[in-house]
Symmetry: C2
Subunit: 580 residues, 2 copies
């Protein structure tokens, strides 16, 4: 039995921020050395941030990231370090994990299984690796691999454990969040540990990057599938565990099946390192699991905060309509950057009801955010006056409705341009799917916080938010932050007299499951109606989704929380005559 | 010597338009049979249109495309047909070419080399093929492959010719246009024919699809590298040639080098078919080559026309400022869909000069398009009045400039929403690169015709257009369509008194080559200054390009004419701290 102390540095990197990322890495190495860890591991592409996308095509970007590796390497005395970076060898570029020890680069692992689906484009940038190095740290055999590698049961970990006799598999990841993925990952790692009878240490990136949120939640499993340690979700963490490793003899090494997904010539490569003795045991706390709504809410907060901060904004502004969407976005923004940094405009028109205006004031008051009132009536009238000679005898239609939304968009952008506030848009996924929103109007802004949240989930999250605050304040009574009147009022756009969403769309309880079937699951018309939905409604929804691709293409980014978000995740042509 | 009559159907397909595409294919098969061709070939993915992107992830889409194949197959009596489609076999999806003969599916070729760079994502959708079928039509051995396959000298054509003894290689393509690519393709095919001593028949898609334009220009080369036939560029065509094929003995088959890029197990597969005798010889005309400016101009016209028509629009509207960009876009639009379908708004502000207003009127008059005048002064004042209490004591800045552009955007969108006109935006690539444009203002619209055309090229194209019209009218005299005053006036945004582009940007003669180095060539700061550019200017340009990624992400699509356009071609993170 050998004691092996491992540290996982769950850090929040920023794409292209070499100085910031390297500083975090160097600090965590120091922290790990201070507690006498044998090894500290960092997330995938930690040096350059993930995903760097086409920055990788710039040779000087890759060079700079290699220069940082040298800096980091020089700080690794008396400890082993596994850190993600872009590696270059013989003119080929790899998604790599460097193994450093005592100031020296021991070896570099190249990711073998490159994801090229969903939001991932790794085959655009990287060559797949051909080798599975293992490292002997004293008597402990360690195999390292990267993210996707571990999602296939016959991936490199399988070879490292079975052929290489590894006791410990370290997987460094940048695995983006979507609902329920945390549980999925836990099942996967448990199985991996049990099937291969190895310790599995999984270190995941944390933080937001454009549309993606990395949730952290790093984990360590024992060979019997027991969870030994888990990092926090949605925040930086530093996880340490002492592993009691039974050092097997060479007979542990078995031959692998030949049906492996990794290339036939991928071989095991062994490097040997001295194990330093360790210090008194570390006490481990495993944070409690989050509920599904908590998970999603936290993802939205972190994604929003990081987009704002990493892009250099201090304050945000949004339009507060008195509806549920903008109330939830305002709440998320306050949790992300503090209510003192959140500004709201209320922009009533002749079609705004007294009730929604009052509710927008209550939300602002309850959240403690500044509310600026700018009526749009006069300007809307000026436009109509200016245009009247061109459209004599034509009835009002969506052109006038859109115009009101665009006047509001202009005001928000004016504040943004004048004061440097980032505009948050408030549209939800049901609207984005069906095009029930105005391009350059309510879609105008820098970040679309809830664009991947279906309307029915918006209500649940708002309710979760109300309850969360009650719990936190320790009282079950008193007014809710988002007033119940907003929950009870039917959703309405208020761009013409008494306009309700359900005049144009099926009820959200029907719409959202159809959208889930069509957008998320890629089911066709005939499969969806088999689920019992009305033919005409399904046809209408499909037609709305397909014909509004052009709008989504011009939408700001927002936090991905579902398995298939609009954006890199769903690449649909605009010009497309297929309906079905 | 055997006579072999080949037809290449250079058709303009539409993504997802199964009925329309199949009709075109069936008609061309009939046409080929009428002239007694032995074989007719169609472009890559002709049945479903190219690129279908994530439509391929819908199983019912793939099924529908296979159903169309059956329909087409039944019309192929007395002729061989090579047609592109999505193929499915054992649960795997392939980019495929079906070989049909006399009403029967003989075999299916699976594309081996899948492009996954630039605008291409083929590894997202397809498995690579493993076999190189050849077909004996009488004594003529034919090898077929798809697009990228032929761009690698040791690709399947090499095996089909060397090991399979093919006399004729047919490559079906959907190869998107960028400047100078036509000449590049010609060199490639010439070399391929000569090196492998084969006839090469290359059939390319024609037409616009979102940001891509396929230029057609199908070609047939003889084994000595001589061009036998060429199709028109930028329009549908039906190319026929009689090939005099020396039927070699089996000794022609040689062994291939083992360094091939195609999989080691890729084998040659032979199918035999009876050759029908052919009719009196076909006379071939080879259309004249286009000049570079003609090539680019035609690409812009076709890309614009197809976006408009394939998305179901009849008319377009644009803002005519009296500057060179909007004049060129108006000219392109007229060539695309006829001046009677092009509408222009002129929207003067207090900062608009009499000269630019007059020039916008002259352009409209010369092009024969309707010009609608809507001053923005009153509305701009209403906004300022509404906002004044919130910004007391603050000087005017870009917020007011952007506001004017947004008021104009609102008017354009109002006409669009009211009358169903598609808004064309008029920004060029120099502006898109540096963010010298207003989100939701001049960037508001459905299609950005010249977003990939640098400003210096805009002038050249406008000059080309003026000269083209003189040539066409047969007179060297008279007024030019785009008046010389527009060429002579320094570029100006007119959003504040006497505002010139060069107050904010380096002169375009300096800016454009820096942008080319940074955006197209991915050179870094130090490499660009080595070319002799001023350090401060280069630094500023890089910073402008990088910090305006968020604007480009919300821009409408436009025609790609350079090797690297913004969009699918250049996937940059918005959140990105790297500058260099």
């Amino acid at each position: 039995m050998v004691k092996f102390r491992i540290a996982l540095a769950q850090i929040n990197t920023t794409v292209g921020d070499f100085k910031g990322n390297t500083d975090k890495i160097v600090n965590a190495i120091k922290q790990a050395r201070d507690i006498k860890a044998n090894l500290v591991a960092f997330p995938e592409l930690a040096i350059c941030g993930y995903p760097p996308e086409d920055l990788i095509l710039k040779p000087h970007f890759v060079k700079e990231n290699l220069r940082q590796l040298n800096k980091i390497s020089s700080t690794s005395r008396s400890i082993s370090v596994v850190v993600g970076l872009v590696h270059q060898e013989k003119g080929q570029v790899y998604n790599a994990a460097a193994f450093l020890h005592h100031g020296r680069l021991v070896d570099v692992y190249h990711k073998i299984l490159l994801p090229n689906y969903g939001v991932f484009d790794e085959k655009r940038y990287f060559q797949p690796g051909q080798h599975c190095p293992i490292f002997m740290i004293g008597d402990v055999i360690v195999g390292i691999n990267i993210c996707e590698d571990i999602w296939h049961s016959d991936g490199p970990h399988h070879w490292q454990a079975r052929s290489g006799g590894a006791h410990l598999i370290i997987n460094i990841s940048a695995s983006p969040y979507h609902e329920k993925k945390i549980a999925e990952r836990e099942r996967l790692l448990k199985t991996c540990s049990r099937e291969n009878k190895v310790f599995t240490a999984y270190v995941n990136l944390v933080g937001g990057q454009d549309e993606l949120v990395f949730d952290g939640g790093s984990m360590i499993f024992a060979p019997d599938g027991r969870l030994i340690a888990r990092g926090n979700e949605f925040k930086e963490d530093f996880i340490v565990a002492d592993l009691d490793i039974k050092v097997f003899s060479q007979s542990r090494r078995q031959s692998c099946s030949s049906s492996s997904v990794i290339p036939a010539k991928a071989g095991i490569r062994l490097k040997q390192i001295k194990l330093t003795s360790i210090q008194p045991p570390i006490k481990i706390t495993v944070p409690k699991k989050l509920s599904l709504l908590e998970e999603i809410y936290n993802a939205l907060v972190l994604g929003t905060r990081d987009y704002i901060r990493k892009n250099g904004f201090q304050k945000v502004v949004l339009g507060l309509s008195g509806g549920i969407d903008s109330a939830l976005v305002a709440a998320i923004a306050c949790d992300a950057i503090g209510s003192e940094n959140v500004k709201a405009l209320t922009m009533p028109s002749p079609y705004s009801s007294a009730e929604t205006q009052r509710d927008s004031e209550i939300v602002a008051l309850n959240l403690g955010i500044e509310l600026i009132k700018i009526p749009i009536t006069d300007i809307f009238q000026s436009y109509r006056y200016q245009l009247k000679d061109h459209f004599i005898g034509r009835p009002e239609d969506t052109a006038e409705e859109n115009l009101q939304a665009r006047v509001r968009g202009n005001f928000l952008m004016f504040f943004s341009n004048k004061l440097g506030w980032l505009v948050l848009t408030t549209g939800n996924k049901s609207e984005m799917s069906t095009g029930y929103c105005t391009l350059y109007g309510d879609m105008a802004g820098g970040f679309a916080v809830i664009k991947d949240v279906p309307k029915t989930l918006v209500y649940k999250l708002a309710d979760f938010y109300n309850k969360k605050l009650i719990l936190n304040s320790g009282s079950g009574k008193g007014q809710k932050v988002i007033p119940l009147s907003i929950f009870r009022r039917p959703p309405m756009a208020e761009l013409r007299p008494n306009q309700k969403d359900q005049d144009s769309l099926p009820p959200y309880e029907i719409l959202d499951p159809i959208l889930d079937a069509y957008v998320e699951q890629d089911l066709g018309f005939s499969e969806i109606i088999k689920k019992g939905f009305d033919e005409k409604i399904v046809q209408k929804v499909i037609s709305l989704v397909d014909s509004n691709e052009y709008k989504r293409r011009q939408a700001p980014p927002g936090v991905k929380i579902t398995p298939k978000a609009f954006g890199k995740d769903r690449r649909m042509p605009i010009t497309n005559k297929y309906r079905g």
